[in-house]
Amino acid sequence: METTQTFKFGLDSFGDIPVDDDGKLMSHAGAIRQVVEEAILADKLGVDVIALGEHHRHDFSISSPETVLAGIATRTKNIKLASGVTVLSSDDPVRVFERFATLDALSNGRAQIILGRGSFTESFPLFGYELRDYELLFEEKVELMAQVLKEKPVTWTGTTRHALAGAEIYPKTESGRIHTSIGVGGSPQSVIRAAKYGFPLMLAVIGGSPERFIPYIELYKQAGEQFGTDTSEIGIHSPGFIADTDEEAVEIAWPNHKINFDRIGSTRGWPPMKREHFDEEVAKYSLYIGSPETVAQKMAKTIKALGVNRFDLVYGGGPMPAKARLHMIELYATKVIPRVKELLAESDGISGKTK
């Protein structure tokens, strides 16, 4: 029981632009308000956390997650409010802290940060950073961020930002610490970096078998032992969609997933997605698409295999009907989460693993 009580279930959105009841694409502003409504529903139904990603592109409405989260903060009670991710490489750790500390105040301590390098790069030219520096930028800024989060005077020097000498950063939070994780996509160095600073790990598993991350979790833990840091909190973030039946879920998700994938792929040199690859990903790998029972079984299998203590489902990829997204959230909260808890409780070995 201990596991199911401490386990966190999240929903993640990038602010994809949905279509309204008439099949018309919403505006960016409408898409942002839609996410607020979804978060309110998720809060009401007891979802633990909502995480909003930062993008600077036409197809995603959220470029400033913490501003949207601030809107959500004043209309919700319990749900944790996270970024997913904050692209730290092209941001300023001091400003990131200030914004999230403000969110933390507005939400009575519910702010969370997930730091990442991001898999999109539009923010680099936008804010005047060189892509070729991305490794150095992230390394230095994580180091500074780790200091700023201590909420003590900060003294820091580096090459990517001017130095700080005993700087106090405000506002201070009431708890003294904003919950901050690092999101990684499978680069071993990123995993070690998270352990080095003692940040919880969020694994972004957007394709392929989740089991392949088992050695990375081992790497995180062993690195934590070497650095003497806490590595007990590990989460996973994967895309999915839930409808009343498997057929309906696939029918809604497939065209939208394809539009999403192909739009992103065209800038990266991926050929258009083929149906058989989508089906394979749904059947075997990391697309959690189907009826509540199908998705719950798949989530429980992954959670048990990896021994993680947080699962965030990324929802709403592509121009999906807003109604279908809301229904998905309802099914996730009222059917999938209780069923996953049940499946985890049935399984014996799990509580020791995720404690």
Binding site: G186, P188, L219, W270
Partner: protein, 222 residues
């Protein structure tokens, strides 16, 4: 057929380098991995993720095997001193990925494949392009024994038939069907922006993705 050398050196300890090390270990190879700096930086990753592989300096690792797989960001290929690879068979598993490499005019040459750029830099090595088109997670998930149904294919582009054969054996050992597509210049058809990029399919399907490869590129290699 060339005698299979069971040592393999991998330059690059990122996502792709680690997966290739894992596959080669499983296939019974002795594996040497080098990152960009001191082996201390990658030792823990290699020990935990690819137990049994050896983390070495670049100079040390490149001495241990006649086959060297380059699995570092393409933008950094010139950080490997070319003398270290003199006389070696070099497998180019790299792609121009502007999101990592930055916007690089020198890597976006519409006239030649990036593998030809790599070959002209390593002018005392023999470069074969392979293991570049399939995503690293599919490489790990999709290995199958020889003759298994729907065994996935990896394309090979190289100028020397004997070298191509050695790389074909390596690919076969790792768990994939090798598919010879032609000379090194044909490697362009495996790069981002082409249908075969990202391909995780069997040999016949992969061949069908290369339907627009001009016959001159696919001409028999010597």
């Amino acid at each position: 057929m060339a005698k299979q050398n069971k040592n393999l050196t991998i330059v690059g300890a990122g996502k792709l380098g680690i997966v290739l090390a894992q596959l080669a270990l499983k296939a019974g190879y002795t594996v040497y991995v080098s990152g960009s700096g001191s082996p201390d930086k990658i030792r823990l990753s290699v020990e935990v993720l690819a137990p049994g592989a050896h983390a070495l300096t670049l100079a040390d690792a490149t001495k241990r095997s006649d086959i060297i797989v380059l699995a570092l960001p393409l933008g950094k290929y010139q950080s490997v001193p070319k003398d270290m690879l003199a006389g070696k068979l070099v497998v180019d598993a790299m792609n121009y990925w502007w999101e990592v490499d930055g916007d690089r005019d020198d890597l976006r040459n519409p006239e030649t494949s990036t593998s030809e750029l790599v070959q002209s830099y390593f002018d005392t090595s023999r470069v074969v392009k392979a293991l570049s088109h399939m995503g690293y997670h599919h490489l790990l998930d999709e290995t199958r024994p020889v003759g298994a149904p729907n065994r996935k294919a990896i394309a090979i582009a190289g100028d020397n038939a004997a070298d191509n054969q050695v790389v074909a054996q390596l690919i076969n050992d790792l768990g994939f069907d090798p598919l010879h597509i032609g000379q090194l210049s044909a490697g362009r058809w495996l790069e981002p922006g082409h249908e075969a990029f990202g391909a995780n399919v069997d040999s016949d399907t992969l061949a069908s993705y290369l339907h627009d490869l001009p016959p001159s590129y696919a001409a028999a290699v010597t």
